[in-house]
Structures are given as C-alpha cells and as structure tokens.
C-alpha cells in the first residue's frame, strides 16, 4: 500500500481495503527502516499516531469533519507548533520547547482525523536552502544520498518522496516549500499570502511566509490545501473569502489557457538541463492546447536583493523574542539580565541564523533604514506591479523553480551563492502571489527537475488545474 497517493489511500480507506491503523503501521515501519539514513524526521510520534488511527477506524471522527484526509498519515515541518509535541525549529534555541498550543493548521488536520506521524527536519528557523543548517542533523535526498534534499523544508520533501509520509506541511518564505519539492521530485504549493493561517508557525519573515502542502501528486496537493486554507481569527493577515473545493475544476484542461514564459527566468545562471526540461514542459502545454506567450518581468533581478533585505529585517525583529526568559534555551551562567539575553542568544542560535539577524539588524539600523529596508519595501511594490502587468497578458507564468537540480552535500559554502539559488522562487513571496512546484523530468545525474506555475492572487484553483493537466498528460482526455 506504501507509495500510493493520498487520493488513492482515501478511496482504499473508504472501501475498507485496509484500515488507518494498518496504513499508519506501514508508514511507521518505512520510517523505521529508512529514516536512519535519510534523516527526514526529528521526532516520531508513533503512539499518538496509532491512537489517532484507531479512533478513525472506530468511527470516532465526527461525521461532519470527515474528509479525504481523515485517517491519512502525515508529518509536519518542525516550525509548526504542536501541543505536547516538541517543536524545535531545528535549533538548539528550541531543542526542548513543548508548545502550549497547536497551530491553526494542526488543529484543522486534527479535527479531520489526519494521523500525525512526527516532526520533520529543516534549516534552523527555516533559514537555508539545503537543510544542512539544522542544529541536529542533515537530511539526504532520497534520489541520491550524496545530495541535499533542498530546504528549508528538506525533511518534508524527503519524507514524502521516500514514502515516509503520505503528505507533509512545510513553510515557504522565499521558496522553502517549492525548492525542496523540486529537488525531491514531489509537488509543493506556496499559497497566496493570507490564504493559510500562520498562527502557530514560528515566525521568520511574517510578511512573506505561508504554510504550504508537499505531496506526491497535484490532486493530493489540492486536497490538503482545501483542508488548511481559510480565515483565522488568530491571524489578522488571513483574508476572508469563500474557500472553493479546489479539486472540483482540476480536470478542466488547459485548452485556451495563456501560459507566459518570461525570458528573465531562463537567462544567465540557469543550468542547461533545467532549462531544457522546463522548456519541454512548455511545449507539452502547447500540444495540449495552451497558448505560449513570451512575457517580461524586468524587476525580477532586484526582487532577490529586496527579498534578502526584507526577510532578514523581519527575522531580526521576530527572533528578538528568543531572549532566554520565557521559553527556549537559557545560558547556564549569567549575572545580569543583559548577560542572560546575550549569552542565551549567542549560544542558542546557529551560524546562518546569526548571519540573518545581523543583516536584518544592519538594514533596520539608524542611518541605513531608508537606504535598505525602506528601499526594499518600495521595490516590493514595483515587483508586485510587474507581476500584475504580466497577468494582463497571460493566465499563468511558467518558470523553473531553481537554477539547478539538487546540490551535493557540502557543495554550497559561500552564503551569497546559496542565496542566489532562490532567484526564481523568492520574487513570488515578494509579490505575495501563489506558485505551484511540480516535477518536469530529470536533469544532471538523473535528478528531478521542478517547474513552477505562478498565478495572480488567489488563483490556486487554476494553478492546480494547469499542473494536473501536465501531470496527467498522455492519459485519457489530455
């Protein structure tokens, strides 16, 4: 049964081909067998999982909460708070943090009777693109164990790709769901800003990030998105709107859909294998009846610089709460209050986190605020306007997710070259719009290549439809 999609598992559970307990045990034994080498999980909650699965099998899940994800085993990136289950952000700072509450997305999944298997490895505080910045361990790419799974939701993408979870939730601040999904050959969505509650997501850059699903198929992704989206009174940035069932129109095809191909996403810096795979996907769309349009997003080069200023500035502010007083790591020796703060922070944060805090503190400091932070906020307006203009010429935009396939472990050492890897994904967060990452063939070393479908605000339904058409190309009706 391992390896089926969420949708297939859901049908099998409904037909009682197997029980949720059997399904959960199968995934737990897969974790036991493989995760020693893979390193996707930071904690495994086997007993709780089996209890939830048993409750589902015994019909204890209220009928009104029953949905496609009921009884399905899943896992969470370890920056999403779970009451009574350690939530570490892969940081020494939170290594023993036991949140007093569940994130809103967790509460929603709990209510539906989805089965939580455990918490997943990530770059510390979601800062990084390889999961090598975890304070605890590295995660390996299931396709080639000498390579990284991407990041920062590397554990989430690796777990789904390796059949250690049916689906996972990650968070995407500058590409942290889409890039690891691309590196591991699975599907990831960065929803429109404001469509999924961030309550209980440990904050890195609040104006940029969204929680998003990582799944094996586009259909599964739409199913999970249905389960987590919506206005939340505990997150004032969530937007009030009717959540349509995004699986409904998913089989609508792409006939007459205008797909924009921006040259800025296929120029200098992109490796040839990625370029070929994504342009071949564009040709596939043409065969299916879509129209390809050449478009231009001139501000995209500046979007990455703006991204690193804004995200670091917000990080320096958000991470000010880690002072060793109310929760998190506290230094053993201190005499004054200031020493308590300084020592706890200096000992508790890892290298990359310190680098971002420092960059952000600099960008927000007196004398530099206008030149860097405020300037970046203005550039954000320009980037958003550029995308909006393009959407008057096309319905969706097709680009690569990242310039290359997965790197070798230890390959990227210089921070700026690492940051450059976000060149195609971060502009989407700057603009606040949604983007879907899905596999489109193989590149160097047989590694998966991912393509990115970007749409205007709240166009998730269209993105799933366009993604589904590609995923099912060559099958009846496509």
């Amino acid at each position: 049964m391992i390896g089926r999609s969420l949708y297939e598992h859901s049908i099998a559970l409904a037909r009682k081909e197997y029980s949720s307990v059997e399904l959960t045990k199968a995934y737990l034994s897969e974790i036991e067998e493989r995760d020693g080498e893979l390193g996707a999980y930071l904690s495994i909650t086997a007993d709780k999982a089996l209890k939830t699965a048993k409750d589902y099998d015994e019909g204890k899940c209220a009928p009104e909460n029953n949905s496609t994800i009921s009884g399905i085993p899943y896992a969470l990136k370890d920056n999403i708070c779970t009451k009574g289950i350690r939530t570490t952000c892969a940081s020494k700072m939170l290594s023993s943090y036991d949140p007093p509450y569940d994130a809103t997305v967790v509460e929603k999944l709990k209510r539906s009777g989805a089965v939580l298997l455990g918490k997943l490895n990530m770059d510390e505080f979601a800062m990084g693109s390889t999961t090598e910045n975890s304070a605890f361990k590295i995660t390996r790419n299931p396709w080639d164990s000498s390579r990284v799974p991407g990041g920062s939701s590397g554990g989430a993408a690796a777990a789904v790709a390796a059949n250690e979870a049916v689906f996972a939730l990650g968070s995407d601040t500058g590409g942290s769901v889409r890039q690891p999904a691309s590196f591991c050959g699975v599907v990831g969505m960065k929803p429109t800003y404001g469509s999924v509650s961030r309550f209980g997501l440990v904050a890195f850059a609040s104006s940029l990030e969204q929680i998003g699903p990582i799944t094996r198929t586009v259909m599964d992704n739409a199913i999970v998105f249905n389960a987590i989206c919506g206005k939340d009174r505990y997150d004032a940035t969530t937007v009030e709107r009717k959540c349509a069932d995004l699986t409904q129109g998913i089989q609508g095809g792409v006939k007459g859909i205008k797909i924009g191909v921006p040259q800025q996403f296929f120029s200098a810096g992109i490796s040839e294998d990625v370029k070929i795979a994504v342009l071949e996907a564009a040709e596939e769309y043409k065969k299916m009846g879509a129209e390809l349009v050449s478009v231009s997003i001139p501000s995209v080069d500046h979007a990455l610089a703006a991204y690193y200023i804004i995200s670091s500035a917000e990080a320096s502010s958000n991470l000010a709460r880690f002072d060793g007083v109310r929760f998190g790591y506290r230094a053993d020796e201190y005499e004054t209050m200031d020493e308590l703060y300084i020592k706890s922070r200096s000992e508790g944060f890892g290298k990359e986190v310190k680098r971002r805090i420092m960059l952000g503190t600099f960008a927000l400091s007196s004398g530099y605020y206008d030149d860097y932070y405020k300037k970046a906020l203005k550039v954000r307006s320009l980037v958003r306007a550029d995308f909006q203009n393009v959407f008057s010429e096309c319905d969706v935009i097709l680009t690569p997710v990242a310039p290359t396939v997965a790197y070798k472990i230890g390959e990227k050492k210089d921070p700026l070259s690492m940051y450059m890897g976000d060149i195609y994904s971060a502009p989407v967060n700057i603009a606040g719009i949604p983007a879907l990452s899905l596999p489109c063939g193989k590149g160097e070393g047989g590694m998966p290549v991912g393509m990115q479908l970007i749409g205007p605000d709240f166009s998730e339904e269209l993105l799933y439809r366009v993604g589904f058409a590609y995923e099912n190309r060559g099958k009846a009706g496509y």
Binding site: A236, A306, D323, T336, S346
Partner: protein, 96 residues
Amino acid sequence: MKKDYIDVEAVAKLAKLELSADERDELKKDMDSVISFANILDAIDTNGINAAEHITKLVNVMREDEVEEKYTAEEMIRSAKTRCDGFITVPTVVEG
C-alpha cells in the same frame, strides 16, 4: 547609498549577540558581500513609490475583546527555565 563599511561590532551589540573573533571576521566578509549585492537596488528609481510593508489590502483588523479561557497560566509559563509561584524568575533588574 554605497556602504563600504559595516561596523559588525556595533550591529552585534544592537542584536544582543556576542561574537568570537572568528565569527566577527567571517560575518564581516559575508555581510559585505550580501550588502554589496543588495546595492543593486540603488539603481532603481523608486521616487513616489509606496513602501509596501505587506501586500494585503487589510487595514486595522479588529476582533471582539472577549475573554477566552483557552490556556492556563501554568501552561503558558511551563517552558520558562526558572519559575516560582506562577512567575518566571530572572536576575535582579532593580536594586532593592
């Protein structure tokens, strides 16, 4: 706005971080390289452009100020390293 000098020590003080000499040298190099990359923003004319703190159109989102008994005080402070009688204890801040 070219800044060719970042005072790492001063920034660390603001960020409440203590850096070793090695950390300081490495951070200096990394920050210089990232900030000089960010200097490409210089070339863009942003006169009259709105600074977008966020991209939603939401303004002053309010909700009813209702008391909810969602958590106990004990639950909320149980993660603090040192506690006493329902309070978090810290070093003396005010001289007695």
